[in-house]
């Protein structure tokens, strides 16, 4: 659906993207996971045609460059910054964004109604956006990206700074979009989001893709071995193993066994293994 091929982008002396290549398949939720400054937002901006790559190419299946007007009509973007007119009502915002995508009349009214129902903001549609909570603004930001019924949706940190209820609502919205057959590029630095939502995840840092696979695939390829933790003769024992059951039998034979559990590798471990533990600002 969306292909980025050997994309390079520099801002002065800073390399934002360094030969990035990605292929996002139709109907999947593709996660772009990386620390701050990894190049996620630059990737999104190039993918939607907002920035031109210094080198490399971007194309949308059957439409070519995302800069073409026809391609833009098929793209929906929820930017990381809340791109809304705060003094206008939610409805005025959505009606305006619908109009600039060519919607009008009954079609526009239907899409506005659908969008408010989808993000559960129908009751506040006539209120000024500045009176919305942070979570409500995020949901309206998502609604604005969906108003023209796009096929490819790019969500740049869509849950940044929202409460757990709104976050959960946004997760459900995104999964609903996937069920409707939409293709979604999802950038985040929240690992649990990527684990929960994404069919495939690309871990990127310093403008490069470090690893790309499904979550189990990443765990298998880059995660540490499972750890069996057991209380043996009053002491806690930790054993790294590829076969926790066999190791448990071995420990049980050696003495009285108390509580035990298995710690599996997590995506967070994979992430830290790939990107390092130094602080990012």
């Amino acid at each position: 659906m969306l292909t980025l091929q050997d994309v390079h982008k520099r801002y002065g002396s800073i390399t934002a993207l360094d030969g990035l290549s990605l292929e996002i398949r139709r109907g999947e939720i593709f996660g772009l996971l990386g620390p701050n400054g990894a190049g996620k937002t630059t990737t999104v901006n190039i993918a939607v045609g907002l920035l031109a790559p210094d080198r490399g190419s971007v194309s949308i299946e059957g439409l070519g460059s995302p800069r073409a007007p026809a391609a833009r009509r098929r793209l929906g973007v929820a930017p990381q910054a809340l791109a809304l007119y705060e003094t206008l009502s939610g409805e005025q915002n959505l009606r305006f964004f619908g109009r600039i995508y060519g919607l009008s009349g009954r079609k526009l009214a239907e899409r506005v109604d659908w969008a408010f129902d989808f993000v559960a903001l129908a009751e506040r549609r006539r209120d000024a956006v500045r009176t919305y909570s942070g979570g409500m603004k995020r949901r309206l930001n998502l609604a604005a990206a969906l108003i023209h019924d796009p096929e490819l949706i790019l969500l740049d940190e869509p849950t940044a700074g929202v409460d757990p209820q709104s976050r959960n609502s946004i997760y459900e919205n995104i999964l609903a979009l996937k069920r409707q057959g939409r293709t979604i590029l999802y950038t985040t630095h929240y690992i649990e989001e990527a684990e929960r939502m994404c069919d495939r995840v690309a871990v990127m840092d310093h403008g490069k893709v470090l690893a790309l696979d499904s979550v189990p695939g990443l765990l298998a390829a880059h995660g540490a071995r499972a750890v069996l933790v057991a209380e043996l003769s009053g002491e806690t024992v930790r054993v790294e193993t590829d076969d926790p059951m066999a190791e448990l039998h071995r420990l049980a034979a050696s003495g009285p066994l108390g509580r035990f559990w298995v710690e599996h590798a997590t995506l967070e471990q994979v992430f830290l293994n790939l990107t390092g533990r130094e602080l990012r600002d």
Binding site: A70, R73, L82, A83, Y85, E86, L88, F96, I100
Partner: protein
């Protein structure tokens, strides 16, 4: 075109939601125009009468008649007062001058060609030379008319001659030869007056004689200045409203950038030209609303009238184009709203002050008027005033409109180029 209309409608809606912007763009210029129009309201074309105090210490029929005729002259606003009070009124500036008719005025007025003439005292600030000369002229005029009336009345003139002859007989300090000549002259004059009919004829050489007949024909000068102060302050108010629009929309472009909405617009299937056209259209509509609203209010309530409606429309369009261009340039002056607002006002305020936004152009010294040609505010005021009280011909209107259109196009292209490179 639908997208451009949607962009413009959205911008006008956003502006309408900011109460302070609405107030300073639409209402404040109107209030300023009225306020300064009232403050600077002068007498218009009518001439003011000079306010004087008159003190009659003589209280004779002659002095009463003189004072009454001063009041009837139409040039003076008379307030009767005692001498001290009259002097105090002049000192306080309440009256331009005080005219005192001292004791003996009436008696002296009865003499003809002999003795002390009737005396009038004028109390006036020496710095008011023009008013002083005018008051002296009016006093002489009234004295001459009084003499003319007496000479035209046989009985009154013979009584005056008789009184003069009596004074002459009783006078001791006069040269005998002089006494003889004056006595002979007065005797001849008495005989001449006695030979005239008692009632003056209604026409002919013997009718009421005047040393000079002045025939006045009302020929109003073709008025080239403003008819009232509002014809100056309303164009200024329009310009301040337009500057408010320029600042609001210039900053709104920066605001779109800082709030991320510009990014959403750039991702949408809109060309940059459509984006800029939407902004320009909103600014154009807003400026037009300011122009129409203020001109309508000025016309309805303050006698602000165009000399040519067609030229006024042309002037308003040229001004709108110029300031839409300037708005685009202002939007590139800063990367944040605060920076753009600061830089924008730093440019717009001197431009407005230099261009006649505060002091009317025709009141500026010539060097400042020459310097003001660099300000679009000056050309805008010239165009508006040209279509109102300056009574420009189409040829005269062509220059300010051409300057404004050229300026608007150049500024718009420069601003659009900077916008594109920033984007």
């Amino acid at each position: 075109m639908r997208a451009v209309m949607a962009l413009a409608f959205k911008d006008l809606l956003v502006l309408a939601r900011v109460r302070s912007a609405v107030f300073f763009t639409y209402l404040w210029p109107f209030l300023v125009a009225i306020m300064f129009g009232v403050i600077f309201a002068g007498p218009g074309r009518g001439s003011a009468r000079i306010g004087i105090a008159v003190c009659d210490e003589d209280c004779t029929p002659a002095s009463e008649d003189f004072a009454a005729r001063l009041a009837e002259s139409g040039n003076l606003d008379i307030l009767r007062a005692e001498r001290d009070e009259a002097a105090a009124l002049v000192r306080r500036g309440s009256r331009t001058a005080a005219v005192v008719l001292p004791r003996g005025f009436g008696e002296a007025a009865q003499r003809l060609f002999y003795g002390t003439p009737p005396r009038v005292e004028v109390l006036i600030d020496p710095s008011r030379k023009a008013e002083s000369a005018m008051i002296e002229g009016i006093l002489f005029q009234q004295a001459a008319r009084s003499m003319q009336r007496r000479l035209s009345d046989r009985a009154a003139s013979q009584e005056m001659i008789r009184k003069s002859l009596e004074d002459l007989d009783s006078a001791h300090d006069i040269d005998p030869a002089e006494r003889t000549r004056i006595t002979r002259f007065l005797g001849e004059l008495d005989r001449f007056m006695g030979s005239r009919p008692q009632e003056p004829q209604s026409s002919g050489a013997a009718a009421e004689w005047k040393p000079l007949e002045i025939v006045t024909t009302d020929t109003a000068r073709e008025w080239s200045g403003p008819r009232n102060s509002f014809e100056v302050t309303f164009p200024q108010g329009i310009l301040w409203g337009i500057i408010g629009c320029v600042m609001s929309f210039g900053i709104s472009i920066v605001s779109e950038r800082t709030h991320g909405t510009l990014q959403r617009l750039q991702i949408a299937p809109l060309t940059r030209s459509q984006l800029l056209a939407g902004k320009a259209l909103a600014c154009l509509v807003s400026i037009t609303i300011v122009e129409v609203a203020l001109l309508a209010m000025g016309g309805l309530f303050f006698q602000v009238r165009p000399s040519s409606l067609g030229l006024l429309v042309v002037a308003c369009l040229a001004i709108s184009v110029a300031f839409v261009g300037i708005m685009m340039l202002v939007s590139t002056l800063g990367r944040t709203e605060q920076a753009a607002a600061g830089a924008g006002w730093a440019v717009m305020l001197p431009m407005a002050m230099l261009g006649g936004g505060m002091m009317p152009l025709f009141l500026m010294p010539s060097w400042l008027q020459a310097a003001s040609t660099i300000s679009p505010v000056r050309w805008s005021l010239l165009a508006l005033e040209g279509a109102m009280w300056r009574r420009f011909s189409p040829q005269e209107m062509a220059l300010p409109c051409a300057v404004l259109l050229a300026l608007g196009i150049v500024c718009f292209l420069a601003g659009a180029r900077a916008f594109r490179s920033d984007s």
